[in-house]
């Protein structure tokens, strides 16, 4: 039987959750025995080439590209897992949810301490090539159906490992108290 196929992506996240996947240490050798990777920053495959079994989503949706990628993952993965606080509730990017979008952009490109003297023409990026920023940062499950959730910032490596192994082998998922944390 062929190995289950895993895809991963980082939307509005910091790649910390992907770092936490690497934090499984030497078990990474078992991981490559256990699964194959498709679209993922881990192997740098940019587009889906086949239907995947498990999609791990890091980060919430802060722009139109995130929504596009997330919907693409939903279409191409049988099981989608929200990995980390950003995917689950927007996380730190969602701190902007109560600030009007114009104010955010002005702070970033016009008034911020590092930009106010460096941007004399007061240019704000606005090109059709660029993804459109959303009114707020959305948790993934408010955009598409998500099957499982792994909280943490980042989720502990043991949590990701236990969950992945349970999904692949069909064994019961054990969740020791120490591994489920929101920070």
């Amino acid at each position: 039987m062929s190995k289950p196929i895993v895809a991963t992506t980082s939307l509005a996240g910091c790649f910390g959750c992907h770092m936490s996947i690497l934090d499984i240490d030497e078990r990474i050798l078992q991981l490559i025995e256990l699964v194959d990777f498709n679209k993922s920053p881990v192997d740098d495959i940019k587009e889906f080439t086949e239907m995947c079994d498990i999609g791990l989503i890091e980060g919430g949706c802060c722009n139109s590209e995130n929504v596009h990628v997330l919907k693409d993952f939903r279409k191409n993965c049988k099981i989608l897992v929200s990995v980390g606080e950003c995917a689950i509730m927007g996380g730190l990017p969602a701190l902007r949810n109560n600030i009007p979008i114009r104010e955010c952009l002005e702070e970033a490109y016009l008034n911020g301490p590092s930009t106010k003297d460096a941007n004399p023409d007061r240019i704000m990026p606005n090109n059709e090539e660029l993804p459109i920023i959303l009114d707020k940062v959305y948790p993934c499950h408010e955009i598409v159906k998500i099957d499982y959730y792994l909280p943490g910032c980042p989720p502990r490596a043991d949590l990701i490992w236990n969950a992945l192994v349970a999904l692949v082998t069909g064994d019961e998922l054990k969740l020791p108290y120490e591994v489920v944390k929101f920070d």
Binding site: S82, E85, I88, M89, G90, G91, L92, A94, L95, N97, N98, K136, P139, H141, E142, I146, Y148, Y149, L150, P151, C153, L175, Y177, E178, V180, K181, F182, D183
Partner: protein, 234 residues
Amino acid sequence: MSEQIKFTIDGKACTTEKGTNLVKAAKENGVYIPILCHLEGIKPAGSCRICNVKINGRFMTACTTDVADGMVIENITPEIQELRKIIVETLFVSGNHFCPACEKSGNCELQALGYRYQMMVPRFPYEFEEKEVDANSNKFYIDRNRCVLCKRCVRSVKSKDGRSIFAVKGRGHKAIINIDHELANQLSDEEAMEVMNTCPVGSILKKERGYVDPIGRRKYDTQPIGSEIETINV
């Protein structure tokens, strides 16, 4: 000696003094009933409902109930546990609880209840309502994004002459906690620390403190909330 009365919690025979508060009586008998708005020593409010138990078949808040002789109490049933989980989830979506960015993380009672009831994601949509931070006091600031309106601070924090330092402003979903800055500035550092510890969440935080305890050594990192009363398997 005062009168001893008998009652049961989930079939376990318990005894206590007549007139004892149920949360306290349960604790004396090694049974944990979760609390969030309640704090031993202050007048119970029964506002958060997390301590809901079934007494003689009816839902009642344990913190506002004194034990009576022969009471039959249900504490851990799938129905009650699910109800408590729903309350925790509701609190998480109605505030802006960014655990990774909160100084109270790891020592927060709301978060600890989330761990205890294994909340992986709230079942309700996030509200992301706009709330304000008031940092005008010298000793601490109040971040209303994290406030669960338990009113512990309103009920327990008083000045030396008995005046309230915190008060509720507004009603219903517009209610917020306000500080009397003049009175608050008279508090010592130790008293300000006590105020911070009174708050079950990271809403009232002492200034110039930051992230003191490293991850792994915080209150609820390895031990679930309530495990000092009752060994539990989460």
